[in-house]
């Protein structure tokens, strides 16, 4: 589903974000990306979305060569990738329902599809009763659920999560993780960058650790820190 071959990415001023990274993630995998701030986790995710281009190397996402893809095809790549963030990125002027519907509306989905899909996904994330609420009327956990609903409403093959629990207390974070786990079980590949040691140690999924742009550990059913 996701393949990186010898990918190097540096930013202006010779800051190397990723150094010769090769890795493969299969369909339906749940992968934690761990490592200190600045280790290259966010760059990794941005490359998959083609928000950045690699300096060298090849990136395949859902069978497409992301780096060589012409830019007009990028939107169609992104329709296969759902993304959630630490800061949710909800639209303040829209209700929960409208936030989710917006994601379908702007990729030109017809009204009847939106009217059937949105209630379904709100049900899945446990917000069926809160469709008419606004962002400021929701707790942090609920806001993250809305953003997950928005990311997943189009049933993407891949879900990228950049520190999705970073702003949440442990109990709420656990609920979000259960939701991501459920989404993963539908066959969606989930890649989650995180600092949350407790979550990684509880879930026991594949862990890829980055340090200064290099993969220093790739472990099935891993934990956050190196085992002693």
């Amino acid at each position: 589903m996701i393949t990186l071959e010898h990918v190097t990415k540096s930013y202006k001023g010779d800051v190397v974000a990723l150094r010769d990274v090769s890795v493969e993630m299969k369909k339906g995998e749940f992968v934690f990306l761990v490592g200190p701030s600045g280790s290259g986790k966010s760059t990794f995710l941005r490359l998959l979305l083609r928000e950045e281009l690699p300096d060298t190397g090849r990136i395949l996402v859902a069978g497409r060569d992301v780096a060589r893809m012409s830019s007009w095809k990028v939107p169609y790549l992104r329709r296969n990738i759902g993304t959630i963030f630490q800061d949710f990125k909800l639209l303040a002027g829209k209700t929960v329902y409208e936030n989710v519907a917006f994601a379908l509306e702007v990729i030109g989905r017809p009204r009847h599809v939106i009217e059937s899909q949105v209630p379904q996904i709100l049900e899945l994330v446990g917000l069926a009763e809160k469709g008419e609420r606004f962002e400021y009327e929701l707790s942090g956990g609920e806001q993250q659920r809305v953003s997950i609903a928005r990311a997943f409403v189009n049933r993407p093959l891949i879900l990228l999560a950049d520190e999705p629990t970073g702003n949440l207390d442990p109990a709420t974070a656990e609920g979000i993780m259960r939701l991501l786990d459920r989404i993963n079980r539908t066959g969606t590949t989930v890649v989650m960058a995180t600092h949350d040691e407790g979550i990684v140690n509880t879930m026991r999924r594949r862990v890829i650790e980055l340090d200064r742009g290099m993969i220093v550990r790739d472990q099935a059913r891993g934990v956050y820190g190196l085992p002693a």
Binding site: W72, P75, R78, K89
Partner: protein, 294 residues
Amino acid sequence: MAFKLDYFARETFVSLRRNIMMTLAGILTVAVSLFLFGGVLLLSRMVDHGTARWKEGVELEIFFVTDPTQKQVQDIQAELDDAPSVKSYRFISKQKAYDLFREYFKDEPDLIEAVDPETLPPSFRVIPEDPALTKTIAAQFEGRPGVDQVLTAEEQVHRMLRAISWIRRLFFAISGILLASSLFLIVNTIRLATFARRHEIQIMKLVGATNWFIRIPFMLEGLIQGAIGAGLAFGAVYGLQQILSDLVQRSEGVFQSFFITTGDALGIGFIVLAIGAFVGVVGSAIGLRRFLDV
């Protein structure tokens, strides 16, 4: 597709209303600059109509002394027949000259009363092959036996045409500057609109909206500003045409030839509309150039 149109219409309208002051500024500048532009075109059209008459009309007139001999008139006529630079000519007899005089001054009977047909000189009205030859022809007949003087329309006409052409250039320059400033205003309006909606644009890009889908509401916004401004200018040009036509109809003699038709005004109106729409679309396209950086 009907649904998308719905979406575009709604987004465009919301954005226009959100920046209402900037929107109005854009619309008014487009209107003023295009009105100036259209007005200049209209005046040019009038001048074209006016000078078209002059060009097929008399460029120079050879006046005889009050009582030239038959021989003197025949000599000049023979010479006119032979001159290759003369396209055509017409003899104005004493009586004909008097008739024309009465026509020109029909509102001043005292003046007509005072003139005796016998005191008016006969003349030839000459049309050259090429207006540029007027001076050459005039020189040829100046001072011939029986010829009193040769009057050319050229100097006055051309001085006027030069003045008009300068005015035309000046107005085109002013309307060009105004049009440029309306373009900048529209660019700025669209840039503000994209800034106000940068979060939405970010989400749209994230979930895979195509660039055209993101652009269209903003381009429509620019188009509408340009088109409304041009529409106002169209109306004003049409009004100006009515006023000028009215003035021309009430004017005398030579000014009658400076007519303009409703067709002229409509043609110019459509040019103005096209420019307005073009400015709107180009302005928003420039304003959108940076939205990819969001």
